[in-house]
Symmetry: C2
Subunit: 340 residues, 2 copies
Amino acid sequence: MRLAVIPGDGIGPEVVAEGLKVLGEVAHDVETTHYDLGAARWQRTGELLPDTVLDELRQHDAILLGAIGDPSVPAGILERGLLLKLRFELDHHVNLRPAKLYDGVTSPLANPGPIDMLCIREGTEGPYTGNGGVLRRDTPHEVATEVSINTAFGAERVVRYAFERAVARPRKHLTLVHKTNVLTFAGSLWSRTVEEVATEFPEVTVAYQHVDAASMFFVTDPGRYDVIVTDNLFGDIVTDIAAAVTGGIGLAASGNLDASGTNPSMFEPVHGSAPDIAGQGKADPTATVLSVGLLLDHLGRTEQARKVNAAVAFDLSTRDAAQPIRTSDVGDRLAALASG
Amino acid sequence: MRLAVIPGDGIGPEVVAEGLKVLGEVAHDVETTHYDLGAARWQRTGELLPDTVLDELRQHDAILLGAIGDPSVPAGILERGLLLKLRFELDHHVNLRPAKLYDGVTSPLANPGPIDMLCIREGTEGPYTGNGGVLRRDTPHEVATEVSINTAFGAERVVRYAFERAVARPRKHLTLVHKTNVLTFAGSLWSRTVEEVATEFPEVTVAYQHVDAASMFFVTDPGRYDVIVTDNLFGDIVTDIAAAVTGGIGLAASGNLDASGTNPSMFEPVHGSAPDIAGQGKADPTATVLSVGLLLDHLGRTEQARKVNAAVAFDLSTRDAAQPIRTSDVGDRLAALASG
Ligand SMILES: CC(C)[C@H](C(=O)O)[C@@H](O)C(=O)O
Ligand SMILES: CC(C)[C@H](C(=O)O)[C@@H](O)C(=O)O
């Protein structure tokens, strides 16, 4: 396996180190190449994602990313020029975000019940394309627009992926989350796409919910969801709610997939670079390790993925919540469990 | 006070009746005119909001609305043709949604702590303007767009209103919620607007949060918020999370304000028409009564508003959660408390 590693900023390098530690225990054929991308490189050289680096990244089977971002960089620069650029250039149209409440993990909900959902967020369209503009900037007559772009091509491929995942799960249930009563053009496209693809998956039951209602039910009744499919922006929001109710972003893993396999997929913890705790060895690497699990699963290494996930599930069920996290201790424990 | 009443669909008429019951106890000069708008009228006549009705509505000091919506009407028709039409025609640029965890109310959160936030959502711009379109509909090459429109004029007036509310509250704290790292055109306009208006309110401390992070913190740490200002779509989502953590939409009140006073403002519970329980006398009218409180406050009837809110607070603190809600009993209790 040729793995490109982008440790990134803040706690990124720390959590990635533990992810690789665990990966090394279950997969003995991993060749890693590290890429220095993120705030530090931008500060030093003004470079975000040079074309040569992008070309090299394309030569890999997968990418593992830590976290990108630093307060010293103006908002938007790294997000647009690096993180989103990677997603768009590598056609990461499926943004995969499982949210499972593991045994032993404390939910902020009083009665969470079992939660095990798979959020599938579109990754290359919606209001994320940079489309829009500004007129009469800095005057009282300024107009700023943001355009959400939705295509049949783009919706169909992510909806199809969602159905494929849903049909392989015990509950076989899929919920489309959108705002069809207000965003009628995009909403209609998404609804029709789900209806059409549904005919190919008669075993899957399908529901629809407006994003505002779903955001509420993610809090009051998250157990009702199985697979969720939604657009880029709604997905950004609801997956963070899903992460919150299942124990926080310290545990939230994600995959940015080119489901066609043309480009390498990229796996990253949902959390940011957390500069306030960087370098102190107290970041929780669990989300990164779970992202490694998604990576292995995506590459068809089902048994290796199972080992990693089982290690995390066991470790979480036996963790002492009173004990502060030590990044490398968690990694050591997970590595030992995964290798066993 | 000349009050236009739109009972609407489903449980709308039931909860509005209780709202008026309570209003009648504290304000003895209310002249009401009922308007038959909603699903039934549309089914009967095809009319949504005739111009003559709109003209009549304009002659009032305020509007009280129950709920609009019925499964027999295709999604979007009533929302766009009636509810949003009212907001746009009457220039309801401030969508006011308080979220307070009252004593005696059970939050779905294990440790909610005190929650008392005032969400201020823009009401006439963003992706709610109907701007957008579709190309090559029903072909594999379909493209559907939604355009979020943001103006300096529109952002400034709602941001100013938010600062005015913030400065009048004990904590004097305001949080802008947006997604400036991705929606850079609109995000920049909103950020600059907040910065500019902030100079006029030096006592108010200002924070910024991305909508995804805010959605998470609304669940994990809602007590940190005081006043929130955000755009139309983000506001739709985060106010439902705020409602969820403070006991649900059964308690969530809202005001659609023309803060300039040119047009009557409209007050409505956030919940929908709940056709499944309509006509059974078991809908909770509390959100409608709290909306009446917002109405009185908006009309400068501070003492009457105080009575209504105190009645609700007392009633909630003494409600027996095991006892099923009886719509008219709740109204009777609140009316008696408010009149006392
Ligand atoms: C950093 C930001 C651009 C990104 C997004 O909005 O997709 C992040 O919030 C995420 O969810 O991965
Ligand atoms: C019904 C719908 C159009 C409306 C909105 O999106 O504003 C509702 O969700 C609300 O929050 O009042």
